[in-house]
């Protein structure tokens, strides 16, 4: 049974995708039901595995592709952290997407690829070998392209083209790095540490940066982030999923895997590749925030904010100390919760009040109080106000930086927090303290609960995981367990 759990988890998104592709356009209720059943059963399976892994169990399913080349699904602490996030947010995003798209065209195609994209993310989280990771990582690229180009107009098609140009070039780099590494080290399995010890250090350094360049496209590291703002033309649920769960996160997650499970703490330090990566991440953090400051479109501002925030994960990973690692890993979840809240709200604002630009936000707090409340919580979290999730991250990152002897990390965090405040506070201020535009039409209600509810749930979660960070099953507790169990010498 234990080998079947990861396979079943993958199927909970893959089967709905296949079913939904075949459903006629007008079977709206059935389509929604298939989606929700898939998402709920996935959440159930994930809960089962969480309990198992906490008790020290591992789950594995293996399929040989060619001699020595294995497709391996393996559940470990790190994978499960990412998987739990994606399972939880998939359910909410599905509910939101059903409400958001209403009776729009091409929904079977949309939800089919949507589920496929979640299946790919699940595969990324469960991958136990480098080749398995690559397979699902590419499946993610392919299944998200139709979502970017979904609307089918010129703008969407050209955004899709840009997205592919970046991601396929990235995957070519990743493929080269992976094959080069495996041609000298043999097939790389994440659970087997120390495979690379004793190989030529210069080659390993070059391969490390080829791999990072490949993964850096999806993780939106400077200067490879150009596709991300362009992809904003996609429908709001897609943006939410891209930024919080699927694409950007998969890139960051891949970098975490490369640093910890392919190279390992010790080797990264010995090769001296951690600090250049940390500097690159810091540059991305500051640059993303600076660019966000100058965006007048709300979604674009959020997009650049993602560029900045995801690099916190990379920064914590690259510093490769125990505390900074905890900060990086926990931000995988924290950023997801906060950013998806912001995107849910931005989508609801656009859908209900046609608000897409920053200067249109005046007085929206009165018209859509729940939405703007969730928005404000998430924005405060991003800035790093205690006790919201973002604070926990920044605290651990800063502490980890000091611990590793890199006090400049504090300066980066301070600069970034200031910039975060500078681009988020005006939005919050406008929403609550400015009088409403006279031209705005009056809303009779805030919107369907399926449109507003998910944002409220994720916003509350961002607050709760910060408040109760000390519990063993909080994201922080889980991240600490991973580090204590797997990465401490």
């Amino acid at each position: 049974m234990t080998g079947w759990l990861p396979v079943l988890t993958l199927l909970t998104s893959l089967l709905p995708a296949l079913i939904i592709f075949r459903l006629p356009e007008d079977r709206r209720a059935l389509r929604s039901a298939v989606n929700i059943v898939g998402a709920l059963s996935k959440l159930g399976l994930v809960t089962l595995m969480l309990a198992g892994v906490a008790a020290g169990e591992t789950y594995e399913a293996r399929l040989a592709l060619a001699p020595g080349l294995d497709l391996l699904l393996r559940v470990d602490g790190l994978g499960l952290l990412f998987l739990t996030l994606s399972a939880f947010l998939w359910l909410l995003t599905t509910v939101y997407a059903i409400a958001y798209l209403g009776n729009g065209p091409n929904q079977s195609r949309f939800f089919g690829f949507f589920s496929l994209c979640v299946a790919a993310t699940t595969g990324v989280a469960l991958s136990g070998t480098l080749i398995t990771f690559f397979i699902f990582y590419e499946l993610l690229t392919l299944s998200t392209w139709p979502l970017v180009a979904h609307k089918g107009d010129d703008e969407s098609i050209s955004a899709g083209r840009k997205y592919l140009a970046y991601t396929l070039a990235g995957s070519a780099m990743l493929l080269i790095g992976m094959v080069w590494l495996e041609s000298i080290a043999g097939p790389v399995e994440f659970a087997v540490h120390g495979q690379l010890i004793g190989l030529d250090p210069t080659t390993l350094q070059i391969i490390f940066f080829i791999l990072i360049a490949g993964l850096g496209v999806k993780a939106a590291l400077v200067p490879l982030y150009g596709w991300l703002p362009a992809a904003m033309v996609a429908p709001a649920p897609v943006s939410a999923l891209f930024h919080a769960v699927a694409v950007v996160k998969a890139g960051a997650f891949g970098i975490v895997r490369i640093v910890y499970d392919v190279y390992g703490f010790g080797l990264v330090e010995a090769l001296g590749v951690g600090i250049p990566l940390a500097l690159l991440a810091s540059a991305t953090i500051v640059w993303g925030s600076l660019r966000a400051l100058f965006q007048t479109d709300i979604k674009k501002r959020l997009a650049y904010s993602t560029v900045s925030q995801v690099s916190y994960i990379v920064l914590g990973t690259a510093l490769a100390g125990p505390t900074s690692t905890v900060g990086g890993l926990v931000h995988l979840v924290h950023q997801g919760l906060m950013k998806i809240t912001l995107f849910f709200c931005a989508g609801a604002l656009a859908e209900r009040m046609n608000v897409t630009r920053v200067d249109q936000l005046d007085g929206t707090g009165r018209a859509m109080p729940l939405t703007m409340f969730a928005f404000s919580v998430a924005a405060f979290g991003m800035i790093g106000l205690p006790p919201i999730a973002g604070f926990i991250t920044k605290w651990h990152l800063g502490l980890g930086g000091l611990e590793a002897g890199h006090a400049w990390v504090i300066a980066v965090l301070a600069a970034s927090s200031l910039l975060n405040a500078a681009y988020f506070l005006p939005l919050v201020y406008r929403a609550w303290f400015r009088p409403a535009n006279t031209s705005q039409e009056q809303l009779t209600s805030e919107g369907h609960y399926a449109l507003i509810g998910p944002a409220v749930v994720t916003g509350a979660s961002a607050l709760l995981v910060g408040l109760f960070a000390g519990l063993a099953y909080s994201p922080l507790g889980w991240a600490q367990m991973i580090v204590a169990r797997e990465y401490l010498p």
Binding site: L63, A66, L69, I135, E138, H150, I157, L168, A169, V179
Partner: protein
Amino acid sequence: MAEAALAIVLPLAAGLVAVPAGRRAPLLLWPVIPVSLFLAWRVAKGVPSTHALGGWDAPLGILLRADGLAAAFVALSAIVASAVGLFAVRYLATPRETRKSFAFWPLFFCLWAALNAVFLSRDLFNLYVALELLSLAAIAMVALDGRTATIAAAIRYMLFALLGSLAFLTGAALLYGAHETLDMVLLRDSLSPQPATWAAAALMSAGLFAKAAIFPFHAWLPPAHSGAPAPASALLSALVVKASFYILFRLWFDVFTPLATVETVTMLGLLGTLAVLYGGAMAIRQKRLKMVIAYSTVAQLGYLFLVFPLAGGGGDAQPWAASAWSGGVFHGLAHGLAKAAMFLAAGAMMMSGGGDRIDEMAGLGKSVPVASFAFALAAVSLLGLPPSGGFLAKYLMLTASFAGGQWWWGAVLVAGGLLSAVYLFRPMNQLMRNRPGDAPPLAKVHWSLEAAPLALAVAAVLLGLASMAPYRLIQAGNPLSAEVGLP
């Protein structure tokens, strides 16, 4: 193993019956398809095996030898031909096309028989005969349409094919003069690098280059493959060119191994590189869908030539890195499935009323969703993206290139993949678009026209996932040079 002989005789008999059967010829598919698939399965189970027709052993009699490679290609032709046959029943049954169907079916079955004969023969003269039958059937298929342009394309094809046959036959005669046998196994044991052998190798290779449309002999392929009716294009691009390549593969890995010096294999690799780059660049410039797919074949055949310099490189460093040979075979199989799927999908799209021009394709994603999905899946395999047979092929070849310290061939593979992304996502972008209001409306097509390409595309993907069984199969009785390398 009489199954090997039956795999040739059955479609040949069907081809003969199809002539008098006329309009009812498609009924022949119902017995031929299941039996052929069964025979292919039996041949694959029994590898490696030898069957002497009439009980006469070589060098007097005709020997059929089924090793893993042969069995894999017999299975490929059975799968592709079955799907193409089922597609063609409806494709040719529309009032506009019935005239063609009388000529199509005899050619279809003969082509199938000739393919299996090529895959199972190990005698140069028999190979020549099978290759001639194959070329003639293929040329006639190109001309099926009857338009001036396609007749011209067919005549051009014939010119290349006949010159190729002539060169092949001359080479075979030279070998016979020098070594007094035409059996490939006997030749392998007695071969000595003398001038006559070199001349024979050069002539036979050049002849097969012309038939396989290897750069710079590719000029006939795009008009011929894009001008033929969709089911014929699928067979031509997926199987017919592959047959010539298959012989080339056999010759160099089995017979001419002592001649495969570093210079020779590097030259073959360079030809392949040019094909990959030129084919890709030309595909990007095409305005018509079928021309894009045809030029993609030129490029994809180029990958196969990289196998020669890659084969065996670094075999001692990593036991699993001696994988260029397997990668090449996987590439041949995956390309066969994916390319057939793509041509059939293009056929379904044209039936729907989309036309052949890429800029008129908008909206097809909605009118023929399954065929569009099949097109996309096939593209995934052609791009060498996971999870697909094309990916596994590319991975094995890339590994061989890095493990052997020949990263530049790997760079060609990666560059070729990016080029194909550029030309394949052009039509795929159109599939995502909404149909403009002033464009002529699109029709739904019969489900079999969409199911056939989907089945082939899914098979191409599965080849990369359930890959262990085919991997084991092709290793059965493979030549020593596949393991230790060429130079």
